[in-house]
């Protein structure tokens, strides 16, 4: 049981993610989590104003069901299958985070400095989450996929556009962490 409760090593987790991808392909669908954001827009009636959202969202209910499952899975894993729940970060990262002002690096899934209610209701805290989410939602649709669609599915099927997209993910991520974070924090 300890093996389950402790964090899973990368060589176990990676292949299990590939199995998720394969199962969805086996069920005649595909592994793409960001598509749900488009489906949610369509569900909300965006198709009346914008042609991009004018499609039969009901055909994507299977993927929304995956999302519901993922939420339940997150609950089960965090509350029933995790002990301890802190993250075994490298010492280098902990030092780097401390220098940026993140105090309890790795003691929870998300830093309080960004995600605690107290910080969210500051202008800076709110803006960081809104801008971060906006860029993810805008960028993923622009690029036609996210980590699941491009990095896992696209690269597993050796597609060049996905390689370009993943290179893009890293260009953006490296700019954010190395150039923008020192200004923000």
């Amino acid at each position: 049981m300890d093996y389950i409760l402790e964090p899973w090593p990368w060589y176990v987790s990676g292949p299990l993610i590939a199995i998720v991808m394969f199962l969805l392909l086996y069920f005649g669908r595909t592994f793409g989590m960001s598509s749900n954001l488009r489906t949610l827009c369509s569900m909300g009636g965006a198709g009346k104003r914008v042609a991009f959202f004018d499609f039969d969202w009901k055909a994507h209910r299977w993927n929304l069901t995956v999302v519901l499952g993922a939420i339940v899975g997150g609950f089960i894993a965090h509350h029933l299958l995790s002990n301890p729940t802190d993250i075994a970060l490298s010492q280098q990262s902990i030092t780097a985070l401390n220098e940026l002002g993140f105090k309890n690096a790795g003691k929870s899934l998300l830093p309080d400095e960004l995600f605690s209610w107290e910080n969210i209701f500051s202008i800076k805290g709110m803006l960081i989450l809104i801008i971060g989410g906006f860029l993810v939602g805008f960028g993923t649709r622009y690029a036609g996929g996210c980590t699941s669609g491009h990095a896992i599915t696209g690269l597993s099927s050796l597609q060049l556009p996905s390689l370009v997209a993943v290179i893009g993910f890293f260009i953006g991520g490296l700019i954010m962490i190395h150039l923008i974070f020192p200004i923000l924090f």
Partner: protein
């Protein structure tokens, strides 16, 4: 309803794996872009390697889907600009919020309710892409 159960179960499995692998943690994304741990590279690398093998095997053995067709991965459209520009925009947001679209939902399940702001903003971002789509280089 019963046809949805398998998708629900796959979702639960996906959520559990991403929490247990710590890939849903903002800290792990930071660490990855800092190149200070092999962890995330190990996860993505072994996922892709396993994925390549599974797809090769299913092709060799002509494994069919539950709906009776050959297993097929949808082909991405050709192009360069949309992938490099869109990808970079996504990367900026991924590093800032520490969550890509899968983990966003999963984090909600772990009880990190403030992530709902990130989810709402991501839906709005997707909406704005739909609005601006024809004006953007692809």
């Amino acid at each position: 309803m019963s046809k949805y159960i398998k998708f629900f179960l796959v979702g639960i499995f996906f959520g559990i794996v991403l929490v247990k692998s710590e890939a849903v943690s903002w800290y792990r994304i930071f660490e990855m872009f800092k190149f200070q741990s092999f962890h995330m590279y190990g996860i993505i690398g072994t996922a892709i390697t396993t994925g390549i093998l599974l797809l090769l095997i299913s092709k060799k053995m002509s494994i069919k889907t539950t709906e009776g067709r050959l297993i097929r991965v949808p082909k991405k459209d050709r192009g360069f600009k949309r992938y490099i520009i869109g990808g970079s925009i996504f990367g900026l947001g991924w590093a800032l919020s520490g969550a890509c679209p899968g983990p966003m939902y999963i984090l909600l399940g772990t009880g990190a309710f403030s992530i709902i702001i990130v989810i709402a903003a991501a839906i709005f971002g997707t909406y704005m892409y739909g609005v601006l789509k024809d004006k953007l280089p692809h």
